[in-house]
């Protein structure tokens, strides 16, 4: 199962003087679960994962993930709890660096540049690859300052902050609801509004990729629908990776879907997450190649 995508070299990032550029994956090497399909049609991959293992201390949470994230596509990561979706997502913009003991082996490349190379600044990575969290987490500041915070701290050159705030809030489909109370605390907004504010705040720094970890799991169906509409809107300009537990949501919003599962490691017995199948959403949901995918999407598992 894993040998066909093996990268041949096992690279860990423990300061061994790496400065790799031009890391690209042969799309035909990406496991789709079906021998007859390759992913050569993934458009212009922005992020590429090649033989990625992610560890917490000595515990291997994710093993040997090879996949691509295409430009202006929405990629959904699905799978049972604990299979490492959040772990993989956080390592795509080096938020995992903040967790003590977290370590990535293999290659995660952004436009062919190894993101974990020694000369890469994680701060810069996060400016290019933003993140929206499961629980809306606005800052205890005004709505305006929540949006302006990113551009301010990153020292972005902005002609008019007011215009930027309006543009971004409009983009996040929130402007009409908040335009009269920009100076009020973001904590006064509803959960759904707060989450759209967090999305607005993320796009204010003009990232290229937005990572979302179960962005709707704390929201009601109406607020969820609004976020899903917003994701469709944003796809024109951004590359989006979304973790979701909601199969319908993945089917509705995602161009491609990756199904992960966790299985006990032969040697250690730890439950290690692995990529089972990665394909166009329509294919994955209608003609899953792997029995485990089929069981999961039909609700028989996990």
């Amino acid at each position: 199962m894993t040998s066909e995508t093996s990268t041949g070299q096992d690279t860990t990032h423990t300061g061994n003087g790496r400065a790799q550029t031009g890391v690209h994956i042969d799309p035909s090497a990406v496991k789709t679960g079906r021998p007859d399909r390759s992913l050569s049609d993934v458009p212009d991959p922005v992020i590429e994962c090649k033989g990625v293992d992610i560890f917490y201390g000595s515990f291997r949470a994710v093993s040997d993930v090879t996949m691509l994230f295409g430009r202006n596509e929405i990629t959904a990561l699905i799978g049972p709890s604990g299979c490492g979706k959040s772990t993989l997502l956080r390592s795509l913009n080096r938020m995992n660096d903040l967790i003590e003991g977290a370590r990535v082996a293999g290659v995660i490349a952004y436009h062919g540049q190894d993101m974990y190379a020694d000369d890469v600044d994680p701060i810069e990575v996060r400016r290019k690859i933003g993140m929206v969290f499961q629980k809306p987490n606005p800052f205890p500041k005004s709505i305006y300052d929540n949006v302006a915070y990113g551009p301010r701290v990153t020292g972005m050159k902005v002609d008019s902050m007011d215009d930027l705030v309006e543009e971004v809030l409009t983009r996040a489909a929130l402007w009409d609801e908040v335009k009269d109370k920009l100076g009020q605390s973001a904590y006064g907004l509803s959960g759904g509004q707060q989450q759209r504010l967090c999305i607005a705040r993320t796009i204010a720094t003009r990232p290229e990729v937005i990572l979302m970890d179960e962005p709707c799991s704390a929201l009601d169906p109406i607020a969820t629908a609004k976020i899903e509409d917003l994701m469709h809107e944003l796809r024109d300009d951004y590359t989006i990776v979304v973790v979701t537990h909601n199969m319908q949501q993945a089917a509705r919003v995602a161009d491609r879907t990756a199904f992960f599962t966790a299985r006990p490691d032969e040697q250690t017995g730890d439950r290690t997450g692995m990529l089972v199948e990665f394909d166009r959403t329509t294919v994955l949901f209608t003609k899953p190649a792997d029995k485990r995918t089929e069981d999961y999407i039909s609700g028989r598992f996990g």
């Binding site: 913009n93 938020m95 903040l98 003590e100 701060i123 810069e124 996060r126 400016r127 933003g130 993140m131 969290f133 629980k135 987490n137 606005p138 800052f139 205890p140 915070y149 990113g150 701290v153 990153t154 904590y187 967090c198 705040r201 993320t202 720094t205």
Partner: protein, 299 residues
């Protein structure tokens, strides 16, 4: 069916052993109230007696008069100003140092490292060290520097700063810890540096907690006499303190001295000065409570 329903009813209505209305709980409740009553009673008695004793001298002379050999002419002006100088200097010395130390320990230091764990343990122990030890420490420090006259504002402030520094560090760390991690994560995910995150998110969110803890610590310093007495606290001051190297006395020292005099007039003066000190302390504590309630974040 009927029997299980009966049993269920009985279970919630019966006066079971541990029920809220059992004799044991009632006795316990009564004891709790009694303890509260005793504590409160002592406090009220104290305040009322002091106010009665000092009533005769709660006049403007108390606030404007300097030390004098006859009680009728004496006042606590120098002591009040001295207290203000020393506490103000203590605040200036302690707050930046204490907050910076807390930020380092809480946000930057590796909490699992043995050295930081040792530091943490020591800070907690230092908070429990008797005040007079800090007076001795300050005394030794000033002697080492070759300072002859140790009863100067900066010397007293040094002793009191050492005394409350651990308390300020602990209170600040708690305030920082109460800021949810989601705030830090949100900031870092936008490409803010760790410093920007601390400076623009974590610290501002923690300010109410820091202010409360610091004010309470300063009010402890305001009531301290022991470390200052050790530095040779003056008791006969006929001038306003006017700088860091000025001689000074403080309210607790002045009260301590007046209480020890034989004349009844000085005892009355001591009671009146105690009322002033109590009012100042209550005002500071009230301010701390106000800040806590007014600016506290509800996450």
């Amino acid at each position: 069916m009927a029997t299980t329903a009966d049993a269920a009813r009985a279970a919630i209505t019966g006066r079971a052993r541990g029920g809220e209305r059992s004799t044991r709980s009632l006795v316990f409740l009564l004891l709790l109230w009694l303890s509260l009553l005793i504590a409160f009673g002592v406090l009220v008695t104290l305040i009322v007696t002091i106010a009665q004793d000092g009533a005769g001298r709660l006049d403007s002379g108390l606030l404007t008069g300097y030390s004098a050999s006859v009680p009728e002419e004496a006042g606590a002006r120098a002591a009040i100003l001295g207290s203000a100088w020393v506490i103000g200097t203590t605040a200036v010395l302690t707050i930046p140092l204490g907050v910076a130390a807390a930020i380092h320990l809480e946000e930057f230091a590796d909490k699992k490292h043995w050295f930081n764990r040792l530091l943490e343990l020591n800070i907690q122990n230092l908070a429990a060290v008797p005040a007079i030890i800090y007076g001795m420490l300050a005394l030794g420090f000033l002697a080492l520097l070759g300072v002859q006259n140790k009863n100067v504002v900066i010397g007293g402030a040094l002793a009191l700063s050492l005394l409350i520094l651990p308390v300020v560090i602990i209170a600040t760390r708690e305030a920082l810890r109460a800021v949810p991690d989601e705030i830090r994560q949100g900031s870092l995910a936008l490409g803010a540096t760790k410093w920007q995150t601390v400076w623009r998110q974590t610290l501002p969110s923690a300010v109410p907690g820091i202010a409360t803890g610091t004010i309470l610590a300063l009010s402890r310093a305001l009531g301290e006499a022991a470390p200052l007495l050790l530095l040779g606290g003056l008791v006969y001051v006929t001038f306003d303190p006017n700088g860091l190297l000025s001689g000074f006395t403080t309210l607790p020292i002045q009260i301590f001295n007046w209480t020890g005099r034989p004349q009844a007039g000085f005892h009355e003066l001591a009671a009146a000065a105690s009322v002033v000190l109590l009012v100042l302390l209550l005002a500071m504590n009230a301010l701390a409570i106000f800040i806590r309630n007014r600016y506290q974040h509800r996450w």
